[in-house]
Symmetry: D4
Subunit: 253 residues, 8 copies
């Protein structure tokens, strides 16, 4: 629950919140017909809900965006195809779109900048969409990220060239498709938490990203963790969980 029960009831009795708002505060979610926004999520787990755009129709997305605007919430929506973005642009004129990351957003409340940094590495140019999705989600949550593109294992000297820079990050996100070998190299070389993101880059035996996924999960480098295929969002969120935990100790200093 967002607020303790008694204080909410006092606000109702004072007339400063109406019963509908009070219900939402007590329940911890807004009660739309097709959507229930989890307004308690930040309180519980440290970050707000991100709208999953893939399975929803344009009509549903526009309606959700309107609800967020109405409630004065920051909005970020992932997984939007070029077609959906084209249809959404006229419907959501106050939103901005990062088409190369499949993202729609609208920032109405300032974002608190957090300490801590994330390095986002890609094996190839084709993996950039996923890397940019991660970077957008990190930025939405106040975390700064640096991208290192196209430094995969076919020419490993490219990767080694950035070794010192990468070693300064608190968390490393490695995005790779095809055989997904770059996280193994990264995990064998750096002590930080390494979050591996398989992508659907490749064809035939790349299996739309499953080969990279399985390779990362069975990596000979110890202590990698893995998220779903093309899931830049998920990698960013798990980095945020780590950063938030790190900052508990930083802020105690």
């Amino acid at each position: 629950m967002n607020k303790d029960l008694l204080s909410v009831l006092k606000l109702v009795s004072e007339g400063s919140v109406n019963p509908e708002q009070a219900q939402e505060l007590i329940r911890g979610f807004s009660d739309g017909e097709e959507v229930k926004i989890d307004t308690d999520r930040k309180n519980r787990v440290g970050f707000e809900e991100v709208v999953y755009g893939r399975g929803k129709t344009v009509a549903q997305l526009a309606s959700i965006a309107a609800t967020y605007a109405e409630k004065g919430l920051n909005l970020i929506c992932t997984g939007l195809s070029e077609e959906k973005i084209k249809e959404l642009e006229p419907l959501c004129p106050d939103c901005t779109f990062a088409a190369d990351a499949g993202i729609m957003k609208r920032i109405v409340k300032p974002i608190d900048t957090k300490q801590g940094s994330v390095a986002v590495i890609t094996a190839g140019t084709s993996d950039m969409r996923t890397a940019k999705e991660a970077a957008e989600i990190l930025a939405f949550n106040g975390v700064s990220a640096k991208l290192y593109a196209d430094i995969g294992v076919a020419g490993i000297h490219r990767f080694l060239s950035y070794k010192n820079e990468i070693s300064d990050a608190d968390v490393i996100i490695v995005v790779a498709g095809m055989e997904g070998a770059l996280p193994s190299i990264t995990g064998g070389m750096f002590p930080q938490p390494v979050i591996a993101v398989p992508t659907s880059t490749g064809y035939g035996t790349a299996l739309n990203g499953f080969t990279a996924l399985f390779a990362m999960l069975t990596s000979c480098a110890a202590g990698l963790t893995v998220v779903n295929i093309d899931n830049g969002f998920g990698a960013a969120m798990s980095a945020i969980r780590i950063i938030n935990t790190l900052n508990k100790y930083r802020t105690r200093q």
Copy 2:
């Protein structure tokens, strides 16, 4: 490399290390015929090599254990079946065995205790082997863990009963087979890093753990990361990467 080149060469010239030892120090690995121990690993990534027991023959394992003894290194070996343990016991009389975790170990150097704690949760009794593997690996690396067994979603009140205790941990490892739903619940309730470990518990559509694995990877709870099926070892190692990073900030205080 373990040591800088010049200081090693000085030790050789002084006669305090012989050329073979010096080669190992410079190369960062010991040069066995079938095994190359990565003696530089702790220096690079913050933890020592763990012996992977599944793919090796009993003869190979006994020989590796002997090499570790010779070099005065702490040994931990995972993934041992009951049959292999029975064959290894007489061959490695100075090792101890945790049969219910599939582990052989020999501690010859004291282990540094680390700050930071890990909660290891299992959905069912059948998931304990994997949870214990994680706990053993954490202990081997000086990290304390607390186990919460058999609190899966068929009776979710069992899980809720331990909510406060679990919320004190720095990292949460959730071990579940069958439909693998417990990490979703956990990730929706706690802000910490959550590492999900699918197990091969179940039959038919449990697909030897692949259903739990895929469910965890496609969880609606944001920011979970996942390791291989039955991979208590990997979950522990990624927890250690996080704990080590946390402790960089703790120790700066």
Copy 3:
């Protein structure tokens, strides 16, 4: 057979049915070239045939609709894509379309309302199409349904908020994609028959609904039953089988 043989033959001899109609009554199906309507189905199993729209061409569907119209039968057709609906609308001007459920229908005979109620729950907004298909099929068969949308496990307090309402239903249908965890929670909390419907919501390891399907089949909650992916139709039909059986006992009172 719809009617007993002798009574049909009497009707023929009286001239009140012609030989073609009699053949259909005796055989229990209408003899079209590409379609044989199972006119005996309601008599046998308690509900009429539903037209499966996915595998048929628009031409076949329009022809089937015409045949139903000719015979004075209520028509409901499922699994229609937006494209097919657009092509069918001018061809079947007396039909109504529920585009968000993929359904075309034409009610020419009044539907008998049945006692008994069904709760249809969805984990997310993306699962609504399947839930609405189920609701349409239930309504076509005279059964009332109530929908509870977007109350999945990432914020389980949303689900708990509707616990009392749901417990009044005779049968619970739970529609979920991604990791498909909601039926496990539901089955662990309610004593009624729970029919789980996996959906193709999700990407990558969601495997177009197979992960949810397998998760539901291997649920740790006992006594769930499962239907095909996105099969709102099938869930509704099995609910109707249960409701029909319940009503045998209700009507005996």
Copy 4:
């Protein structure tokens, strides 16, 4: 929770239950180290916990059996291989074993007989183990079942021969391996709830039961529901959910 809080606390203050027992009553589960028995389950969902035997070691099973004995609970445990049964017999001398159903049980409290009947049909002789598991679970819950063995579609006249008998049951469970066609025939002929159980009978393209599973889920007969491969237990439990719901209406008469 099994009992309301205040009445439990009164019992403690009277000394008629000790604090450990009270904790279990309030929490709704017993707190073993590796096992938490869900003592509240019957209260919540209408049936008691069944011990899942496949993933547990013989030591764990014997210990669970001892705990059940201590608490005076009826015990039934499924999924036991011949080898496990041989090892369990001396450890649990007061249990009985149904080796052809993979079951161990001990009845210490009389079982309430329920109204309602279930027909359990098998396509072949090789499917009997699963059918017997279902029958044992039904009996454990007070529901009577009748078995019809080896009446599959290669000689459909065998099935037709029992049509009248089967039509008297409240629920039909159909157990079939190989191509899994029998549930389609059954569903096309009877109006009752039909629960299809695929079995791992067959080889090659039978895919250890997945072909039967998938066939049943994509059956052209409407309103079948399906459980996991070889899951006689699950079929019985879903039949019990239906029977329990039916009996709410019967008992109101």
Copy 5:
């Protein structure tokens, strides 16, 4: 080889065939750059080459059709999508198209009618495309076929209604999608060779026809044989192999 070597060489020396034609006769194939027509096939295996349309571009198909025209060969080409047919129609104005069977053809030499008959049965209306492909191929080879549409197992009385007619055929082809149960029923009821054709009708666990394929291969009815998914062509060709063999004995009479 089409003709014996010496007789071909004589024709060359007489000037009645030119060297290019002679080469083709000797080699048994025509030597196009991208296509080698197997002109010896009928001689070897009893039927002529059928053009496989799926993997070829429209340009390749038009060029092949032109070559056939030039050589005075009957042409039949399968597996053509609606789009390809639309593009081919203007390019091959002297061909006819059976769009509902995906076929283009041009008959320039009369077809010898063969003794023997084939029954082609479909489980549903959605399976008609494949059944018609089979019928077209049979007709191209002079074999007569009779189609029985939409008589699948959800209403088995429809199938039984045609039992006597079907029993007159020399070979039975059964076309079914979804769970693919109809061949099992057919094989259990008729003594003839039964060729089962799975189709991609269905969704989800129908697995684009693989469930029907696997079900047919693991049928409990003995002696079914099976061809590839949607492969009406293959079923027809194997029927022709049987009919040709039958006719060896008929013609000996």
Copy 6:
């Protein structure tokens, strides 16, 4: 039904068959508790039931063998492992065993020899078990077969060496594992019906026979039909269906 109803009833009234026997004659199957022998099968489809040995326990098999002995029926049982054969030998002392074909049999009634011949070809020595199963089933049904072993495509001259002999057969069965290429060669060279049997020979990408199965189903040689992996039985049965149909014409001569 084996006999027409009235004649059976006369026999009962005469006392020459008892009511139990009469029931079996009328129903067309024997009514055992776990087994219903399909005594009508030969009448319906031209061959008797073969006992499927894989999924049955030794106890069930011994009991079935006893029932066949009692009823004076010829028995053949397939799919027996070496272990099962060792256990069955003492229990069925009057049966003979073909261990290299996995078969148990007992011939008590003379077998009618049929006209027609089958060539059974294997690609390698490892495919002989399946080929011998086919030969045993053919012999049990009075059909003579000739085996050609180890003539696969790695040395295609071995196959070509037997071309003339093979071309005399009415039906060709080709047994091959690994890449399963031999049926393509055979189908491209011979006009007869070709039944392809994939075997589980091979490892890794041989996928326990699925690669050979899929290769055969997608063969570029037209008109092959295919049976399940290692299914020598099924190949033989479909050959028998063809031979029986051929013999209808032969016997008319």
Copy 7:
């Protein structure tokens, strides 16, 4: 590294290369934001980078082409769909396109012709796109190739007809879809290195090329090697590795 460090630094100090160019020479790659061209590759492995076109957007490809033009490098880009080629043509007016091979290229520096020859064989006309991709890549690297189209195993006499010609090549590339049998025949007949390329030709059990892939990997002909599905590029590159190694010995003569 392309050049030794000191010589590069001298060039900088002389002003003949600027610092940005020097950085690229020392690092061995060009530092674009989304693309790092591996300028050291030819030096290391004997061939230059080929641009992988499938996963990249048209914008990325046009930008890469511009960079190559700027740096005066020969460009070849594979895996371009017809749609992409249409969009690229106006953006890259100085490039040439081989649409039937999916290739864009621009040759600005003359290509060194290499000794050695490659035979590229296809089983069917549908495999030509992949064969042409291989031929284009070979030509780009100065290796001459000869194509033999449509000589698959359904009419093996076509293949045998070219046996002598093929035996002159240094390396044989065999391109085949469907059941992928042609490499087995080739490998059993020729002593050269045979590189098998599975294609996605076929449908149903062709599994988009996986059946051909698996068949080739499990071929009974010894010493075949295999590349990814439709990977004409990869086959050509491995032929080039072999040709380059051969030429080390030729040039020593």
Copy 8:
């Protein structure tokens, strides 16, 4: 054929070979009942037949070994489990066994040593069995190999340490399980032909070697070729094809 026809016939007429031997020479294979040894293979493709041990029974293997002994041929047999080796040792007392490579052999004719060298690299100790199989096959064919064990990517400095040595080989075989990343690194660093061998080392998502296989096939390093899982034999054979081709040019010098 091994010898030209006329010379063989002369030897028969002279009495120096008997008709059975002559038949074998002319046909190019020996005519055993279950085995046809391809005595022409060396003549055709440059190496002799290797006996595939996996799918054969001990009896078949002993019989083959006896036939080889009788004919005075060198024998090598691969893929033997420990159990088979134990059973074969007494039956083939004149053979030697390499149990850690799964090999039985008997050398009766001296082996010609060939020029050319192969480097065999393994990622881990668990991959040694496959590497040793390759080395044994190379040795059997007169090719020398050098093994580099346990130098995988988790500690890439181990691999780099042997870079110079490896670069001297004519062909590189890389053996790796789990994520199979080592061939990508190797292919990106060396210009030689690289043959990648996936192994079944690993568990869960290692998929018994399929993940490594798929990763190698979709490697971002150009020009790798791949063989079946655990197929050290196949890798060696393809190396021999390359070495034989190289030696054609060496010997011309």
